[in-house]
Structures are given as structure tokens and as C-alpha cells.
């Protein structure tokens, strides 16, 4: 508190000092004219702002504008419009009929990129490698979730789906992992609000018995909640990959930050856009099954039962995989947006109805979203923005992945031989008992329900108050904040009338899980800008943040459910589980940015964060940052080569970020485990000892790079090298059990990472009629644990015999081990999740401004997957490559796992789209010319996957979004490819 009062007082003094030197003028200036694009078409809604004074406006529908500046002799007007380079106009006298031509910003040099909590800078001066993507680049082909649409688009950003189940479950890793057991996912900030991206468990693990309800390594593969956002609402995404850029978000940002800005209204125009997508999906890759050629083979596989079943089906091959995964999904998506407004008020409304059915019958995903954004100019010096997003999403995810009961489709499929036909006859599903099966997967598919429904409200707001604005300087108060609330309901029903349930001691199971989640935050910033006449600019930001997270999860499991009933009361035994997460955080932020003549840009800042999850909740941890960029191309000596290299910037940045431990780490609490006796419940020690000294994990990053534009912007080459040190890594330390405790979270490790990123953009053809853009991005990194103060251990996966990760000083934290040993008997590394490199290729070709062809290719080279899908098939003797499987198993029995830790390389055609757009001129004779534009297109997502991988998709995680332990394949939901037809029009 006292620190705070002090800084507020100091700022006040500082500002008074500045205010005293404000120069003063006394004359009115009025200018007007029109604003056109480079083809001579009027642009409506261009924002016009006078530098240093409270004046400005917007262009109207015909591109006409008028600005009046009181008490002024001269002014600089800045015209800005998204996608165009800003235009500066200096006026020294009142004038009319000024025609402004704005130039399209193809290479995004003028794009404003975030540098602080309330500041940004043009990309040409940016001292960090911050990737960004705009609306048109984001959705070349439709995506059901936002994170899916990001794949392959940035260097250093690895997007990997955990499951092919409809509705998401996607991991986003920025420059590799920064934790061992901590959070692995970046922070998502939408319009200034931190939104929840947690994956809340459905509780299905309690039925598949893959693990217990509430496990720290759940296997139910839920979707993570960023999936709820409507990708069509997004105007722009900026990705703060490393700590040097993400430091402004301090202790929550060591996995990077993804800043999403949604579409805003436009002044003096009303644009209505409607898009209809219709699509279909089918399984991307299948595994197949062993082909049995004779009755004798069936007999040797399963004895007399094998013979009986072989004869029953006349020895025919029954493609159970096709039966289960061969459904053609139907996808429809309608989205409507209206953006418009007046000089004072602008609005955007976006609506979405998305429906899809999956490649497994009975699965699917639907999302309905309505967003409204309002910008209001309350007075000359106060502006207000508010956004409200209401979402309902629902998914039916089926039952796939690991289990210990024989229930999931994948596991049952892997142990059912192909001569068995399990299709129902007259509504009766044949029992599937061969080879230890406990379920008929067709029956499971038809009767088992796994439904998840989300209702979500996201409200965000921003207030800008120009406390004063005079020539050369301004002081602005920016308040932003809001709340993100969602409820999630999971209903899992395994009815009693199935073969699987009849084998249970209490047939008929249902899970009803409910959770309520709220995240709210408030950011208050004071921003002071000082611009001197000799082109120096100083931006000072002082901020305070407050964040609050609360979740209440309940899972109720019923067994012995009466057939036909799904109310949990109708069971013979009912079990409950509740878990509450509470976290409050506060922080302060100070940053100074200095721009010297658009040549040298310097910034330094510090953020201090305190959180209730730290050992000492009141302790502030400081996260400093500093960066510099130098535009060599602005210097005189560059003039000679500026025709070749028009822009060249060197940059260097350092910053620190943090990652909090689990909220329970500081508690030494009591539990009721095994504490019921004769109907009375008691309390005993928990096995975990709280740690009152626990600190957040800390990532420090040093990044160097250059950005260059060549040949009049035809070529863009950016490169970055980064080196990161993650200190205070949190792990669970084993305590001697004689103490009464067995574990304690502690800061016990250090990790080193380095990598480099290259982005190459080409614009080889740019004529009036043809425009071709071609971008390639490349990323490679490496990591090693340099210090570990606890004994090395295996983690992830299930056991060494199946392949596990190893956490050990001196090796990569993503190294994989198995039974394999070297000659001296020491275990040897047999794989690593870290790929050799990743390359993304994006291309867009536009012909005659109407025909557009785009594609996105994502290539991951290397990166191992613990392939238990193959092991399951092999162990059951049912692999399609049966002869090879015998060799693999024999190697395994001799103590080598290498055949089950596989190369997860792939090349995927993530997106491909072809469309044709009719503009207003072409449509003038159609229906009285009401259409502004009309677009017809076809597109596809994940149409092609090239991979040596044995299994559905090397992009897989049986354990969801873990930092260490993701790449484990246990026959999850297979991936799909999808095709779309698009009709879109604008009014």
C-alpha cells in the first residue's frame, strides 16, 4: 500500500511539472477533403486524429471528412484504417478538398504491435519478434476453434491437437515448454480481458477407470475452453512468444501470451456480412486390422470360439474400424456480422451457428455465439469500449482413448479380430467376448453418451480518459477489465443394457459433472506520452492489475442405474467429488518507451506480481524487461542500399516471466481419506506437506534478431535467436515417509532452451491483376535440464516397458526412455518430443482481385510419439502388419522399446481454399445492386497428411495439455479431414 501511495504521488508531481510547460495557441483551423484507397475507391470509416490535440473524426460513406481544430495554427492529422498504412497530413491553414490516398499495408509494416499494457508500436520499430495474424489470414478454411486455425502460421508456435474429437482439445506451445508439471498453455487475452483456457474434466475417467476422478494426470481428453471463441469475430491475433515480449504479463506469462482483438464497428457505414459454410468430414487415416486367411488361423488365435465366430461370419473380413470411424460428418456454419456506427458510436455484432457431426456416429459439436462490441465517444476526452459475448457450445465426444475396462472404442477395436461381425441383428447386439473383450464397440457407440455443454458469458470493457492532451504531450487513463464466466455440464451415461455394463458389479453408470468458473480482471493504467519537436517520444506507463479466479467443480458418479433412467438419483450407489480453485493475483507495472527519431527504440519496464498461490501470498515477485531496436535503414550510410533493402532493423530484448504452481501447493491440509469408521467421518493429515516458501517458476529470455524488407517490399526476411533460462522449476519433492508426509512442491530445477526462428515473406508477383504472396516460417529449438535438486525420475506414459519421459539433470526434459540399455546396463534415450524443426508455408494468390487461392502447409520433422496404439494392436495379435508385429513384440520382450517410440513427423495440408469474389461493381445489376460483395468458394482442412507414423495421427495426447508427458497415443479419437463449400455476401 505505502509503496503505491508513493508512486501515485510521484507521478502526480511529475505530471504537474510537464503540465507547466504546455505551449498555448489561439486560433481555429478547419480542413476537409476525401479519402480514397489505391484504386480510387472511397473508404468509409477512416479514423482521423489530430496529433497532440483533442480533435478528429471519421470519413463518411463517400469517403468525405472534415476536421476542426480549435485554437491552433498548424496540426498534423493522422488517417488510419485497418489494413492500410497510416497517412500523416500536415496542415498550416484552413483548407478544403484535400484528397488523401491511403496505401494498402500488404507486409504489415505499419501494423501496431503491442509493447505494453496500454501501448503499442509500429512493426518497423518493434524490438521483439511478435507474430501476428489478421482475420483474412486466420481463416483460409473454416475452423471450428480458434486455436485450430493458428496451426502452421507462425514461427515458434506449435499447435497440436490432443484428440480428433469434435470441439477441440488443442495444445499451443510457444517456443517449447517452460515447465515440467506447471501450466503448459499460453495466456489468452481477449480485448484486454484474460479469458479462461482451462480444460475441465468430464469425470469419464471414473467409468473407463483409466485413472480416478480428480487425478492430476486425467485421461478424459476434454476440450480446452479457448475453443468457445468464435474465430469469425477475430480481427487480429498477436502472439507474444517468448519471455522478452510476454514480460508485460509477468507471473502468468511464461508460456507466452496470445492477444486477441475482436472486430470493432466502423463509423459512417453499415456493413452486413453473411457467410454460409456447408461441409463434410471423414476419417483422415485408418489403421486397419490383421487379415485372417483361414479357419485354422482363427482357431490358433482364439481356439474353439474363434472357429465358431469364423464360421458364423463365413470367414469374411468385417471392417469394424470403418463401421466405427467411417461416418461422414456434416458441418454447417452460418455467421452473420453487422458493423457500423456514427462518428460517436460504432458497433459490431457477430453471430455464429456452427454445427457438425463427427466421424463417429453420435458424436458432434455445436456452437452458438453472439458478440456485440460498442465503441462510444462519451466526450472529447473520454472514450469507452464494451464487448459482450454469449456462447453456448455443446459436444458429444464419444468414448475413446485409454481405459482399464475394455470400454472405449479404440481399445475394443484393437482387441477384436476382423472375422467377427458385431453389428446388431434385429436390434440385438452380439456379445463380444473373444480375446478378453468386455464390450461390443458398436453397442457402446450407439448407447454410450458423453455430452458436454457450456454456457459462457464474456464481458469486457475499456475506458480511455485523456486527462489532458496538449501539443507534445498527453496523459491518458486507461481502465480495462471484465469477467469471463462459464458453466460446464458433463453428462456421461453408460446404460445398464449393454454387454459392458452387464459385466460390472453394479450395471448402469452415470456421471453428472458441473462446474462454475469465473475469471475477472481489472487493469488500470496511466499513460503519459511526450513528443518533442526533434522527434523524440517518451511513453510512460504505470499500471495496476487485479485478477480473480474461482472455480467450483463437482462430479457425481452413480452406479447401478435403473435402465432407461439418467437421473443420478436412480442408482444404487452415488459418489461425489468436489474441488474448489481460488486464486487472487495483484500486480503493478511500470514501463518507459523511448523512440528516438524513428531510428532507435528503447524500452524498459518492470512488473511486480503477488498471488495467493505462492508460498507467501503477499510477496511481490519482480519481472523486469528491456529491449532496443535500431533501424539501420534510417541512417545516412544506408541510402546507397536502400533501393535493395528498404528496411533493416536490428533488435535485442530481454525479459522475465513466471508460471505459478498449482493452487494447492502451499497448503498442509487434512483429508477424509480412509477416515470413515462406523458411519462417522474423521480427518487426518494429507500426504502432501505445504510449502510456505514456494516461488513462481521464472523464465528469463534474451532474444536477438533482425527484420528486413527487400526489393520494395517484395521480400521480407526476419530472423530471431532466443535463449531462455527457466529457473525455480517446480516439482514434487519426495519426503521421507517417516515424517508422515510423502511429497512437497518445491523449486528444484533449472532448464535451458535456445532456438531460432526465420520468417521469409515473398511477394513475387504484384501487378494490378495478380498478387501472389508466399510465406515460409521455420523454427528449431532445443532444451536441457541443467539442474535438478531431486532424484531423476520417469514420468508420463504408464511404465518404462511402455515408454516414459525422463526428468534428469543434463538431458532434455522431453527425452523418452524405455527398457533399452547400453552395454554397461545404463538406460539410453530412445526418443524426444522435441522436433528437429518445424516449417509452415502459407501462400495466397489473387487474380483480378476476385479469384483467390490459398493454402497452408505445416511440416513437423521429428518429435517422437510413445505409440501405445501400436502396442495394443500388436499385443492383441491384430495389427494389420501382423508379421512385423511379431518381430516388434519379440524385441520388446528382449528389452527394447524402440519399435513403440515412433517418429511423429508429418506434413499436413492444413488449409486449402479457392474462392471467387464479385465486388459491388460486378453486382450492380443484380437484385438492384444491394450486394456489396459476393463470394463463392471451396476449401478444405487437413486434406492431406503425409507421415511415417503407425496410427491415426502423430499429433496426439492421451493426457491432454501437459508440459511433459503429452506425446502418448492410446487410440484416441481419430483425426478427420474436412471439405467446405462457402457462400458469403456483404450488404
Amino acid at each position: 500500500m505505502s509503496k503505491w501511495r508513493l508512486s501515485v504521488a510521484l507521478t502526480t508531481v511529475f505530471l504537474c511539472f510537464i503540465g507547466a510547460f504546455a505551449p498555448i495557441f489561439a486560433q481555429d483551423l478547419t480542413v476537409s477533403g476525401s479519402v480514397l484507397d489505391d484504386r480510387g475507391k472511397a473508404i468509409a470509416g477512416v479514423s482521423i486524429k489530430a496529433k497532440g490535440v483533442q480533435a478528429g473524426g471519421f470519413s463518411d460513406k463517400k469517403g468525405l471528412w472534415r476536421v476542426s481544430i480549435p485554437n491552433s495554427k498548424a496540426a498534423t492529422l493522422v488517417f488510419s484504417y485497418i489494413g492500410f498504412k497510416p497517412f500523416e497530413l500536415k496542415v498550416t491553414e484552413s483548407k478544403s478538398d484535400i484528397a488523401i490516398r491511403m496505401e494498402e499495408d500488404v507486409l504489415k509494416t505499419a501494423e501496431i504491435v503491442v509493447t505494453g499494457l496500454a501501448t503499442g508500436i509500429a512493426r518497423t520499430s518493434l524490438p521483439n519478434a511478435i507474430a501476428s495474424v489478421s482475420a483474412s489470414e486466420l481463416l483460409a478454411a473454416p475452423a471450428s476453434t480458434m486455436d485450430q486455425a493458428l496451426a502452421g502460421k507462425f514461427a515458434g508456435v506449435n499447435i497440436s491437437q490432443n484428440t480428433g474429437a469434435p470441439g477441440g482439445g488443442i495444445s499451443v506451445t510457444l517456443r517449447g515448454i517452460s515447465s515440467i508439471i506447471g501450466r503448459s498453455q499460453p495466456l489468452y487475452v481477449v480485448d484486454g480481458l484474460i479469458v479462461n483456457n482451462d480444460a475441465v474434466q468430464s469425470g469419464i475417467d471414473g467409468i473407463t477407470k483409466s485413472t480416478g476422478v480428480g487425478s492430476s494426470r486425467p485421461q478424459g481428453q476434454p476440450s480446452n475452453r479457448i475453443a468457445d471463441l468464435n474465430p469469425n469475430d477475430i480481427e487480429d491475433i498477436q502472439v507474444l512468444k517468448g519471455a522478452s515480449a510476454a514480460a508485460l504479463y509477468g507471473a502468468k506469462a511464461s508460456n507466452g501470451v496470445i492477444i486477441v482483438t475482436t472486430k470493432k464497428g466502423r463509423a459512417n457505414t453499415t456493413e452486413i456480412d453473411f457467410t454460409q459454410q456447408i461441409g463434410a468430414s471423414s476419417v483422415l487415416k485408418t489403421i486397419g486390422s490383421r487379415v485372417f486367411t483361414s479357419e485354422a488361423e482363427a482357431k490358433s488365435f482364439a481356439g474353439d470360439l474363434g472357429v465358431t465366430l469364423w464360421r458364423k461370419n463365413n470367414g469374411q473380413f468385417f471392417d469394424l474400424e470403418k463401421e466405427l470411424y467411417g461416418n461422414t460428418g456434416l458441418i454447417t456454419e452460418s455467421s452473420l456480422s453487422v458493423r457500423g456506427g456514427s462518428d460517436k458510436t460504432q458497433f459490431f455484432v457477430g453471430g455464429l451457428a456452427h454445427n457438425e457431426t463427427g466421424i463417429i456416429k453420435g458424436t458432434g459439436y455445436s456452437k452458438y455465439s453472439l458478440r456485440s462490441n460498442i465503441n462510444q465517444e462519451i466526450s472529447e476526452n473520454v472514450r469507452f469500449e464494451a464487448g459482450l459475448n454469449v456462447i453456448r457450445s455443446e459436444s458429444d465426444r464419444g468414448v475413446t482413448g485409454n481405459d482399464n475396462t475394455g470400454l472405449t472404442l479404440g481399445v475394443a477395436l484393437s482387441q477384436t479380430p476382423s472375422f467377427v461381425d458385431l453389428r446388431p441383428v434385429n436390434g440385438v447386439y452380439p456379445a463380444n467376448t473373444i480375446n478378453g473383450n468386455t464390450s461390443n464397440p458398436i453397442e457402446t457407440r450407439d448407447k454410450f453418451k458423453n455430452n458436454e455443454t457450456i454456457y459462457r458469458f464474456i464481458a469486457s470493457s475499456k475506458l480511455f480518459w485523456d486527462i489532458f492532451k496538449i501539443e507534445g504531450q498527453s496523459l491518458t487513463f486507461v481502465a480495462q477489465g471484465g469477467a469471463d464466466y462459464f458453466t460446464q455440464r458433463n453428462k456421461v451415461i453408460s446404460p445398464a443394457n449393454t454387454q459392458f455394463e452387464q459385466g460390472q458389479s453394479q450395471p448402469g453408470q452415470a456421471i453428472n459433472a458441473e462446474s462454475g468458473n469465473i475469471n475477472s480482471n481489472l487493469y488500470l493504467n496511466l499513460l503519459h506520452v511526450l513528443e518533442t519537436e526533434n522527434q523524440l517520444s517518451f511513453k510512460t506507463t504505470l499500471g495496476y492489475q487485479f485478477e480473480n479466479t474461482y472455480r467450483n467443480e463437482t462430479v457425481i458418479t452413480t452406479r447401478g442405474l435403473i435402465p432407461g433412467q439418467d437421473n443420478i438419483n436412480r442408482g444404487s450407489s452415488i459418489e461425489g467429488y468436489q474441488f474448489i480453485t481460488k486464486q487472487i493475483d495483484k500486480g503493478f507495472f511500470f514501463q518507459e518507451e523511448v523512440d528516438i527519431k524513428n531510428l532507435l527504440f528503447l524500452t524498459a519496464g518492470v512488473r511486480g506480481d503477488a498471488s495467493s498461490v505462492n508460498g507467501d501470498g503477499n510477496q511481490y515477485y519482480l519481472f523486469p524487461k528491456g529491449a532496443a531496436s535500431l533501424r539501420l535503414s534510417q541512417l545516412d550510410f544506408w541510402k546507397d542500399i536502400s533501393s535493395t533493402i528498404s528496411e533493416f532493423k536490428l533488435r535485442a530484448a530481454y525479459g522475465q516471466t513466471g508460471n505459478y504452481a498449482v493452487p494447492t501447493a502451499r497448503f498442509t491440509s487434512l483429508t477424509s481419506l480412509n477416515s470413515v469408521i462406523d458411519g462417522n467421518v474423521g480427518l487426518v493429515n494429507q500426504a502432501q506437506k505445504g510449502n510456505a516458501l514456494l516461488r513462481p517458476e521464472r523464465t528469463g529470455e534474451l532474444e536477438f534478431g533482425f527484420d528486413s524488407y527487400w526489393l520494395e517490399g517484395r521480400l521480407r526476411l526476419n530472423a530471431s535467436y532466443y535463449t531462455q533460462t527457466v529457473t525455480d522449476l517446480v516439482l514434487q519433492r519426495q519426503l521421507p515417509p517417516s515424517s508422515g508426509y510423502t511429497s512437497q512442491y518445491d523449486n528444484v530445477g533449472t532448464m535451458q532452451k535456445q532456438g531460432f526462428e526465420i520468417e521469409l515473406g515473398l511477394n513475387p508477383v504484384r501487378t494490378e491483376s495478380v498478387n501472389w504472396n508466399f510465406n515460409v516460417n521455420f523454427h528449431k529449438y532445443d532444451a536441457v535440464l541443467t539442474e535438478l535438486k531431486v532424484p531423476a525420475f520417469y514420468t508420463g506414459g504408464f511404465s518404462l516397458a511402455y515408454g516414459q519421459y525422463r526428468v534428469e539433470q543434463g538431458i532434455s526434459p522431453l527425452a523418452m526412455y524405455g527398457l533399452d540399455k547400453d552395454a554397461s546396463g545404463k538406460r539410453i534415450q530412445i526418443g524426444s518430443e522435441i522436433p528437429n524443426f518445424q516449417i509452415g508455408v502459407n501462400s495466397s494468390l489473387t487474380i483480378a482481385r476476385s479469384f483467390n487461392f490459398r493454402f497452408n502447409v505445416d511440416w513437423k520433422n521429428g518429435g517422437s510419439v510413445i505409440n501405445l496404439a501400436k502396442l495394443l494392436y500388436d499385443a492383441n495379435g491384430l495389427s494389420p502388419d501382423y508379421q512385423a508385429s511379431i518381430d516388434r513384440l519379440s524385441l520388446l520382450s528382449k528389452g527394447t522399446n524402440t519399435k513403440f517410440v515412433d517418429d511423429g513427423s508429418y506434413v499436413k495440408l492444413r488449409e486449402v481454399a479457392l474462392d471467387y469474389t464479385f465486388d459491388r461493381a460486378a453486382l450492380s445489376g443484380f437484385l438492384g445492386g444491394i450486394f456489396r460483395s459476393l463470394r463463392l468458394g471451396v476449401s478444405g482442412r487437413n486434406l492431406i497428411m503425409l507421415t511415417p507414423y503407425w496410427g491415426y495421427d502423430p499429433e496426439v495426447s492421451n493426457f491432454g495439455n501437459l508440459s511433459v508427458g503429452r506425446s502418448v497415443d492410446v487410440l484416441g479419437f481419430p483425426s478427420a479431414r474436412s471439405y467446405y463449400f462457402t457462400l458469403a455476401f456483404g450488404l
Binding site: I470, S675, P736, S738
Partner: protein, 460 residues
Amino acid sequence: MKTQFLNRFASARRAMSTAAAIAALVVGLGSCDQNFTAPDPNSPTPATASLQALATGTIANFRYTEINEFIGIAGREIYTVAADDPRILQQPIGVNALDNTAFVVNIPWNQMYYNIANFRNLVDYAAKLPAAQKAGVEGFAKTLQAHELVRLSGVWYDEGIKIEYRLDRNAPFVPRAQSLAEAARLLDEANTALAAAGATFSFNLGAGFVGFDTPAQFARVNRALRARVAAYQGDYAACLTALSASFLKESNTAADMAIGINHAYSTQPGDVPPRGRGGVGGNPFFQNLSAPSLRWWVQKDFVSDNPDAAVDLRVLNKSAIPTVVAVPAAIGSGPGLTSPRAVNLYQTQNAPTSIIRNEELLLLRAEARMFGATPDLAGALADINRVRAAANAPALTTVGADRAAQTTRLLYERRYSLFFEGFRWVDHKRFNRLSELPVERSIDRLITAGWPKPANEIPQ
């Protein structure tokens, strides 16, 4: 010009003081209303829990009896047929040398030290109670803490156990003599406390302690446990002294043999003891003799070593011929193990497990009378015959001519009277007779020194 300047200055100052006020307000809101060191929202802490809740939880967790199975296999009393976890048989029977990460080593160690921590917690909690209540909690908790130390000390024997409960791994493993001395000290301290604990405990001890649930009555349990420690220490004078203050009852009826304290079970929802099987409540070692497969079998010599097997109720009631499974049953993986009878020590699902009872006290007194400084062989014989009479076994006329014969006699009676209660391996160890235990297969070994020191306890 000057006026304008001042006006501007004033307005800027006004604006800035407003901003400062807002900032101060928000900072104030943020820091004052929120507790950054709030307690665990999911679980209570010892400070907020009630004494009864802590006592109930501690007593419920104290019901850890699985060690009787492991040490029972090591002591060749019983064999377990567990298809789900063959380690239960293989590790204690010595198929492979017990390593210090073995589950039969770590689970019992962890659970018994966990119980000790719970008893220590109770003592810590009691510090804030009025003197008599505090003494009652201390007397109760330290008595049972000592019992856990004695169990640990028996299983780990020569390897030693820890009597300091530290968060680092550097607490020493102390030899058995020292751990028994620590148990004796705790028991004596507890006995003193119980004497100052007033007429009643301030918490309910539950069904397992019926008849011993006042400080005065519980002191007799304390002395019984003290007598056991004294016998293990070879201090037979102290043993007899302690027994005289214990609940020992000179009797020859089966019912009186069972007098003592127990682990109680019920089928109330959620009543599952630690390591209870399959989430089902009740005695973990109860088995239904008409089940299609049975888990616990007696070692085959259990019947043939007893000349009175046809009448001795300690054979007839503690084991049975199953109704479905044919005997002799082949047991375990690999050839060589058979059993004539299934274990039937606990005949109903909620049959209690004894912690200490009168039958053992009579045998402790017999031991002390035989091996004390001034042997009382007649008294010893009378005690042994009381126990035998209760089991319908014919009376003996002598306890043996020499110490060796007397030891054999004692081990025999303890074997049948305390069958599958965690004693046989320890008894053979303390009388240096382990070599008498049968090793039926060439792949099996006897554990001779004790359970190994757990890996997690050894300094790195």
C-alpha cells in the same frame, strides 16, 4: 497568457488528483478486501478441525492390517493367491530378494509412519486443551503411537527404524533395542498422562475400544502393550509388573481370550480401512468360503504340525475347507505350493481385527514366568493350559525340560493362538529360530534380517 497558464495548470492538477484518487481507491479495494493467504478452500487445517474429527480419522486410518499378510507370508503362516497382484506373494516369500523399492516394503512403512504422524498431530492439537483433556489425548495417542513403533520394529528388526520424524532423510535408523526403548518411554509417558486424565476421555474412541474407553481402563491396555515391549526387550520382570496392571484375566474360556482392543469394521457407506480391498468395507481379510476362488490359504504344515489338529479350535476355527474350491489347492505361480485349508480367521465381513488381547497376555506371562530370573514353570504351564483349554486342546503336563524345549513350546502355542496376527516371523526372529521356518520351493528364500530400509528414507 499568465492566467491561461495558471488555468491550464489548475485543470491538469484537478484531473491528476482525480486520477490519483481513482488509483488510490482501486489499490485500496484490491489490497484490503482480499486475503492473499487464505486457507485451503477444499480442506480444513489442524487448527480448524475438531478433536473428535481428528480422533475419528486417526482411529479409522490406524486400521492398517495388511502388514499381517506380508509378514504372515514371510513367517510361513499363510499364502496369498492374488492374480491381480502376484507381488503380494512373491516378495515376502522371497522369490527375488526384497529390494528397497518393493511395494511390500514401502506401503507398510509409509502407512504406519503416517499413523504415527496422525497420533503426533493429536498430541499437538491437545496442547490447547484443558489439562485433563490434554492428558487424555496424550495418553491415548502416545500409547497407540508406541504400538506402531513396535510393529515397525518387529518387521524391520535388524535393519532398524526411525524414531525421529524429520522432513529430511538424515534421521538415523536406530537398532531394535533403541526403538523398543523409545516405545517403552512413550508408553510410560502415556501411562502417566492417563492417570491425570480424569474419569473420561473428551472424545469417543469408537466400537473397537468398548470396555477400554475411559482413561483408567485404557491404562490397562497401555500396560498390556508395555508388557509386550518388555518381553521383546527380554526384561521379564518389567513384563510381569506391567501385566499385573494390564487387563490380563485368568480364564480358560474362548470368549475371555478375545478380551482386548480391536480394529472395528462396519458396512456403513464409505467405511473402508486403509488398503481395504476393492473399495469394499469390512475386515480386509474376510473371505467367503463358498466363493469360486479364494485368496488366503494356510501354509500346508499348519495342520500337520499340530498333533491335536482334529480338536484344536485354533486350527478348526481359523482355517476351513472351502465349499467350492477343491483342496489341496495349488497356490501361486510356479509349482510347489499347496494348501489343505483356506484361511478362516475372520468369519464374518465385519469381524474385528485384534490389536492386543487376553490370549496374548497369558502367553506373555507364560514366557516371562519361564524365562525370567526366577522361573515359575508351574505358573507358565497353568497359563499355557488356560489358553489350550479355551481352544479345546488337551492340557499339557510340562512346558519342557530345558530352555530350548520351552522356547519350542512357547513358539508353538503363539503360532496357533496368534495365527495370522503378525507374530510368527517376529517370534522366530527374536528367539533366533528363523531357520525352522519351512522353505518349500527352491526359488523361495527366508527374509532373515528384516525388511530393507525404504529407498525414500536413505540420504541421497
